[in-house]
């Protein structure tokens, strides 16, 4: 993380989903009552995929499938044994069943992932954003980590991994701000004009790998910067209010919020 102030896509998304959650988590520093099982699952799954691609970068061949599974199990065990307990919401399976699901998903992934030319795994960035209207640099820098950079046909493609209940919808693919931020970050950090790709592994009974190349234009970039700027201004102004809804289920700050 940079020494100064920063903002991440995750922070922006958190504020947009529920400003009160943002306040409790980031501003007040309230300790979460539990770790949502889906969050722990996603982190462990990312770790397994990072192991797969990291081995390609080092040796040119993917990590063996059994080791990919071991990577997940180790990360999952670490999360389960952490100070903060895991907790499912009512729609989730129990933590034990999650391991079986992950194994099934990782088999599907390994069968379809192939051996791309890996440039970087877990590629961190810190860039300066500029106000779209005034050109002034924002005080907060944008930070983040790109899951995977691969080279295809002479250019870099930023790949974002997701483990999700179902395939992404058109709207999710079209409007998710994360790849937009990555496109800006890639250019600002010298990677040039990059391709953007979602690689989504579904948690469905028969897991599927959805690979979608997406496009973000100048308008989308400006929208993202305006969104980030607006959120930062709202935070600065002390705007905070709860949004009650589906997001309250499985929110680790709910007990503090009410």
């Amino acid at each position: 993380m940079p020494d100064g102030l920063y903002v991440s896509v995750s922070q922006v998304k958190t504020w947009l989903m529920c400003p009160r959650k943002y306040e409790l988590k980031y501003i007040r520093g309230v300790a979460p009552a539990f770790v949502p099982v889906n969050l722990a699952f996603g982190s462990a799954f990312h770790e397994a995929l990072a192991g797969y691609y990291g081995e390609i970068k080092v040796s040119g061949i993917p990590l063996r499938r059994d080791l990919v599974l071991d990577t997940f199990r180790a990360a999952w065990a670490k999360a389960a044994e952490g100070d903060v307990p895991l907790q499912t919401d009512e729609d989730d399976a129990d933590p034990g069943a999650m391991i079986d699901k992950a194994v099934s998903m990782l088999h599907t992934f390994c069968e379809q992932a192939g051996t791309p030319v890996v440039e970087a795994v877990e590629h961190g960035f810190t860039i300066t954003l500029h106000d779209v209207d005034t050109g002034e640099p924002l005080e907060e820098q944008l930070v983040g980590t790109m899951d995977l950079l691969i080279r295809e046909e002479g250019r870099i493609v930023v790949v974002e991994h997701k483990s999700a209940a179902r395939k992404f919808t058109e709207d999710q693919l079209r409007f998710d701000i994360q790849p937009t931020a990555y496109q800006i970050a890639a250019r600002e950090s010298g990677l040039g004009d990059v391709g953007l790709r979602f690689q989504i592994i579904t948690k469905s009974k028969v897991p599927a790998v959805q690979v979608v190349d997406i496009h973000r234009d100048a308008q989308a970039e400006a929208d993202f910067v305006r969104t980030a700027t607006g959120v930062l201004r709202a935070i600065d102004a002390g705007v905070s209010y709860p949004i009650r809804g589906w997001q309250c289920r499985g929110c680790p700050y709910e007990s503090t919020c009410r």
């Binding site: 100064g4 980031y26 005080e139 201004r233 002390g238």
Partner: protein, 266 residues
């Protein structure tokens, strides 16, 4: 033409437009940073034709275009149009002018064609407003309850509509060589920032390290005192924190090691 005839023409030109002629934009949707209300360009032209007849007016224009680089590094075109709008009639192949107005308009766009087009329509509408056509847009009387603040963000007006902003001057008598120019909207200042700066945060971290406070201890301290993490202190709170930490470090307010609170440099 008598003054009475001119007065009647003016009243016809300056009459209000029906609702469907009014265009409104929201800054949050256009990205311009301000809401606008104005009369559509074609409705202005229609009014001139209806009152003066086809051929009863004409416009001369000069458009200058400059290629610029936006703050995000992308190229754009900034066009400025100087226009002379003449009212009159054709007699024996000669256009005999009885009134004219001079105006300018600007527009910023990603393509040169759009920039030229936008600057022209902006200039045209402003010149027509000098004769009263669509003057309500400049008077701010279209939507009295929808006036923006003192400043609007963009320095160049949008293509289709004019900002609801009262022009500094509106009248342009015939024969005056240069029409008064409406003030260009100026960039709005960012809202006053309350949150601490990166420099303040860095100063807090540096003094804390000097005191042997690790990150969790520092976070606990700011939470206990201000109910906030260090990154979310206000400037004032950060200033207080720097002062108290400095005192603990034995520096008092002299800021040893050349460390000055941001904003206090020099």
């Amino acid at each position: 033409m008598t003054n009475e005839e001119k007065r009647k023409i003016y009243l016809q030109l300056a009459g209000p437009f029906p609702e469907h002629c009014i265009q409104r934009t929201e800054g949050r949707l256009t990205g311009r940073g301000y809401d606008t209300t104005g009369i559509g360009y074609q409705h202005i032209a229609n009014r001139l034709n209806e009152v003066l007849g086809v051929g009863g007016w004409r416009a001369h224009r000069t458009v200058t275009v400059k290629e610029i680089t936006r703050s995000n590094g992308r190229p754009a075109f900034e066009a400025i149009c100087d226009i002379t709008l003449e009212l009159g009639e054709w007699i024996d192949g000669q256009f005999i002018v009885f009134a004219e107005s001079l105006a300018d308009g600007g527009h910023l766009a990603s393509s040169e064609a759009d920039a030229r087009k936008g600057s022209y329509t902006n200039a045209f509408k402003k010149a027509a407003a000098f004769f009263g056509v669509g003057r309500q847009a400049y008077e701010g009387s279209l939507d009295d309850d929808n006036l923006p603040g003192d400043h609007v963000v963009q320095t160049v007006q949008p293509a289709a509509v004019q900002p609801v902003q009262r022009p500094a001057l509106i009248a342009t008598p015939v024969g005056v060589p240069h029409a008064p120019v409406m003030q260009q909207p100026r960039a709005a200042p960012a809202p006053t920032r309350n949150r601490l700066t990166s420099k303040q945060l860095g100063a807090i971290g540096a003094i804390a390290r000097k005191l042997g406070l690790d990150q969790p201890a520092l976070r606990a301290a700011t939470k206990q005192r201000f109910n906030a993490q260090p990154e979310f202190l206000t400037r004032e709170q950060a200033s207080q924190m720097i002062s108290s930490l400095s005192q603990q470090a034995g520096n008092g307010h002299d800021n040893a090691d050349g460390m000055h609170e941001p904003g206090m440099e020099g």
